[in-house]
């Protein structure tokens, strides 16, 4: 048994290292897709969100998110206190917030909790770095820093608790017979939707970059300044994603990791090709930047269902994600008049919602025995359990409602407190020179 625990601990730590590496991928993708005059600012946000997030999650976030979980059986026995705050209605319990393990005080020498902390931290940081893309090229740095604290200590931990920490969304199955409750294996909703929806709220409150939407109704194109960098970042993300998904078994002793990794690769490939063909047919141009976003969309969408579906379903999930990205990137600009410089809202928000629902459609009943305390494997609509789809829909709707609402209120408040936007002059000149005081590409 001890060797199994060691194996699983090593697996989880290795996966956490891979997911941490995704911070680099995000930095490269977002900076590549934005303009040269804002490269330092975009990089700086992607950099600072990491230390800020680690500290915030260590002090507060982890306790809120996972303070109610008794232990991690695959990682070894641990005998630590846990507390989930919530309320009872009759015999039903509705968990709302974790209430222990703050600053890791009570679990300072508990290997399972610590490994899980590291894994959960880099997940949170992934979610937290998504809005920096949607709000790039106009966000005041102090407002961004405030957001980093809010995201790592409050917003992300709340929704993570509801789905992963024993909160009420995970008990929809036990309490109401809706399948296994919300099933999100690696975070299509918890991580990606949360990031995408927060980015949407922020982009609405901040408004578009100057000159994006012209008075005559046309929309300006601001091409990214370093496509090669964006492509490299995409590969870094795709690589790290194997840790994201396969690591979420929390166990290398679980043979399902093979299928999870394969599904992850297939879905991302299908997403990339679909987006490529989409843009090729529509604009007669094999646009690699959209294809990159298609690959990421495929990854986001397979994140929740990766353990529960067969490879052909993974491909189909990726195809739909590729279409959502191709359609969404344009539609969000044209229909909603929201300016998302890197396409984060489509990639993480739309595809995250799709991935969440996809569990409830394609889960084929070969995995997930006893998941969320409900007997039997996880089945989707196509394999006989419509209730699972209903639970997934509740999860997606709650994410849109609660995360968007809280994020919106936060951005409004931060605007009053410190001001969200840089001055117009700063934006025209470039945030690097006037907001950050340095330049990515000095002329000399």
């Amino acid at each position: 048994m001890t060797s199994t625990y060691s194996l699983n601990l090593a697996w989880l730590l290795l996966s956490a290292f891979l997911v941490m590496f995704m911070q680099l991928g995000f930095a490269m993708v977002e900076t590549g897709f934005t303009r040269a005059k804002n490269a330092v600012h975009t990089m700086a946000m992607n950099f600072v969100i990491y230390p800020l997030g680690v500290i915030g999650f260590w002090l507060v976030g982890y306790g809120v998110a996972l303070g109610g979980v008794p232990g991690w059986p695959s990682l070894g026995p641990s005998n630590v206190g846990h507390a989930e705050l919530g309320f009872h209605v009759g015999s039903r319990f509705f968990g709302l917030l974790g209430g222990s393990k703050f600053a890791l005080v009570s679990v300072a020498h508990d290997p399972p909790s610590l490994a899980m902390f590291l894994f959960a931290t880099v997940f949170m940081d992934t979610a937290a770095t998504i809005p920096t893309g949607a709000l790039a090229e106009r966000w005041r740095f102090v407002a961004f820093a405030l957001y980093g604290a809010f995201m790592s200590m409050v917003l992300y931990p709340i929704f993570a608790n509801w789905v992963w920490g024993g909160g009420w969304l995970s008990s929809l199955g036990v309490n109401f017979g809706l399948g296994h409750g919300v099933v999100d294996f690696a975070g299509s909703s918890v991580v990606h939707m949360t990031g995408g929806v927060t980015g949407l709220a922020g982009a609405i409150v901040l408004g578009p970059r100057l000159g994006k939407f012209r008075k005559d109704g046309t929309i300006a194109l601001f091409p990214g300044h370093n496509l090669p960098m964006a492509v490299m970042g995409t590969f870094v993300l795709a690589f790290g994603w194997f840790g994201f998904n396969a690591g979420s078994t929390l166990a290398a002793s679980e043979p399902r990791i093979a299928e999870i990794a394969v599904n992850t690769a297939i879905s991302s490939a299908a997403g990339a090709l679909t987006a490529l063909v989409f843009v090729w047919l529509r604009h007669r141009r094999a646009d690699v930047s959209l294809s990159c976003n298609g690959l990421l969309g495929g990854l986001v969408a397979i994140t929740a269902p990766c353990a529960f579906v067969a490879p052909p379903a993974a491909a189909l999930i990726g195809v739909i994600a590729g279409l959502l990205v191709g359609w969404g990137v344009g539609a969000i600009e044209r229909k909603w008049r929201v300016d998302d410089p890197v396409g984060a809202i489509s990639v993480h928000g739309l595809c995250g919602a799709w991935g969440t629902l996809a569990v409830g459609i394609f889960a084929d009943g070969t995995y997930g025995e006893g998941f969320n305390g409900v007997a039997g494997p996880v089945r989707g609509l196509l394999f006989g359990d419509g209730g699972q789809l209903a639970a997934q829909a509740v999860g997606a709707v709650v994410n849109v409602g609660v995360v968007f609402g809280l994020a919106y209120l936060f951005f409004r408040a931060s605007n009053r407190l410190v001001g969200n936007r840089v001055a117009a002059e700063v934006e025209w000149t470039g945030l690097d020179e006037l907001e950050m005081g340095s330049s990515a590409y000095p002329r000399e």
């Binding site: 199994t4 699983n8 996972l66 109610g68 979980v69 008794p70 232990g71 991690w72 059986p73 695959s74 990682l75 989930e84 319990f93 968990g95 899980m116 789905v163 992963w164 920490g165 024993g166 995970s170 008990s171 036990v174 409750g181 078994t249 929390l250 166990a251 002793s253 679980e254 043979p255 399902r256 063909v277 989409f278 047919l281 529509r282 579906v309 067969a310 490879p311 052909p312 379903a313 491909a315 189909l316 195809v319 279409l323 394609f362 084929d364 009943g365 070969t366 995995y367 997930g368 025995e369 006893g370 998941f371 969320n372 305390g373 494997p377 196509l382 394999f383």
Partner: protein, 341 residues
């Protein structure tokens, strides 16, 4: 300095009349006061004096012009001691083929062929000397009262940085794409066969009064050149000799590989069209996908339906065959979600 005008003196040249004026330069008739010879002076407008790229092109035109000595090519005369940038050329009587076409719209077959032969002979000579014109069009062909022609304007010939004419880069100085070869539309520099294409287009226009492709604007024209076939000249002029039509169609083939390989071969056919073998173009197979005539708009949805139904079937097959469950394990490791009791 300012732009010179007729009546003024430029070094030892008396400018007598303004012959032509383009966006970039004026051409004057002038008298060399030393020899009494009548010459033509091409003087760029002032604003180009300091343009390095333009200067380079101008210098190249001069070098090439001095290298070429052919009865159908305007000669560039050597001249020293110039106080500013200009080009001294032999003075050729006549007007441009463009002006001629403007007056007469189209010419009888023999007259048109006579002009095409002279252009062809100039091309043969140029190509043998390693010079490709690249900008051959009726505006650059002078024709005198006896029907003798001379080629002009080697501004982009041989130029390594020759304006790369791309789909999106159509800038005003380039003007009409009528005579541009498809490979130039695609952004390539072009070679000898590019001039052959232009000559074919000119002959087409001389005989029919129209250009092979008609489109509402420059972009549509360029697209037509890449995707459509030219109207056969005999549709416009039914009395035209089918062999002459064959020469034209072969010269303006979309793919350079299908054209005459050299100006020499084309000139031979122009001199004696009776030997030309007719090719049957109707049986030529376009790429399979084009032959299927699938409307572009239907491709996406059709692909989607096929892919989605294939993947759904596969999902169903996988879900309903083989072992339904993973082998049993010592413990169930899925963990982070243990519901509180």
């Amino acid at each position: 300095m300012r732009d010179v005008i007729a009546g003024e003196r430029l070094d030892h040249y008396e400018l007598t009349d303004l012959l032509a004026r383009s966006g970039m330069a004026s051409i004057f008739r002038a008298v060399d006061s030393r020899s009494g010879e009548t010459v033509a002076l091409k003087v760029p407008h002032m604003q180009y004096e300091s343009d390095v790229g333009f200067f380079e092109r101008f210098r190249r035109e001069e070098q090439i012009g001095q290298k070429l000595e052919h009865p159908n090519i305007v000669r560039v005369l050597p001249s020293e001691e110039r106080s500013r940038m200009y080009l001294v050329m032999e003075f050729a009587e006549g007007r441009s083929l463009r002006a001629l076409l403007g007056n007469r719209r189209k010419l009888p077959q023999e007259e048109a062929l006579a002009i095409a032969r002279q252009i062809g002979s100039a091309l043969v000579y140029m190509h043998e000397h390693g010079v490709v014109h690249r900008d051959l069009k009726p505006d650059n062909v002078l024709v005198n009262a006896e029907g003798r022609i001379k080629l002009l304007d080697f501004g982009i010939a041989m130029d390594e940085a020759a304006r790369r004419l791309t789909w999106f880069g159509l800038s005003p100085p380039i003007g009409t794409p009528d005579y541009m070869a498809p490979e130039q539309v695609r952004g390539k520099r072009g070679d000898a066969r590019t001039d052959i294409y232009a000559l074919g287009t000119i002959l087409y226009e001389l005989l029919t009064g129209e250009t092979p492709f008609v489109a509402g604007n420059a972009h549509a024209m360029m697209r037509a050149k890449l995707e459509a076939d030219p109207r056969p000249p005999r549709e416009l002029v039914p009395t035209l000799d089918p062999k002459v039509e064959e020469i034209i169609l072969r010269a303006i083939e979309r793919s350079p590989r299908e054209r005459y390989g050299t100006a020499k071969e084309m000139l031979a056919d122009l001199e004696d069209p009776s030997h030309v073998e007719l090719r049957d173009r109707s049986t030529r197979q376009p790429p399979l996908l084009q032959r299927l005539h699938i409307p572009r708009r239907a491709v996406g949805p059709a692909l989607l339906v096929i892919v989605v139904s294939a993947l759904l079937s596969l999902t169903w097959i996988v879900g309903h065959s083989g072992p339904r469950h993973a082998p049993p394990q010592e413990s169930s490791p899925i963990a982070p979600t243990a519901a509180p009791s």
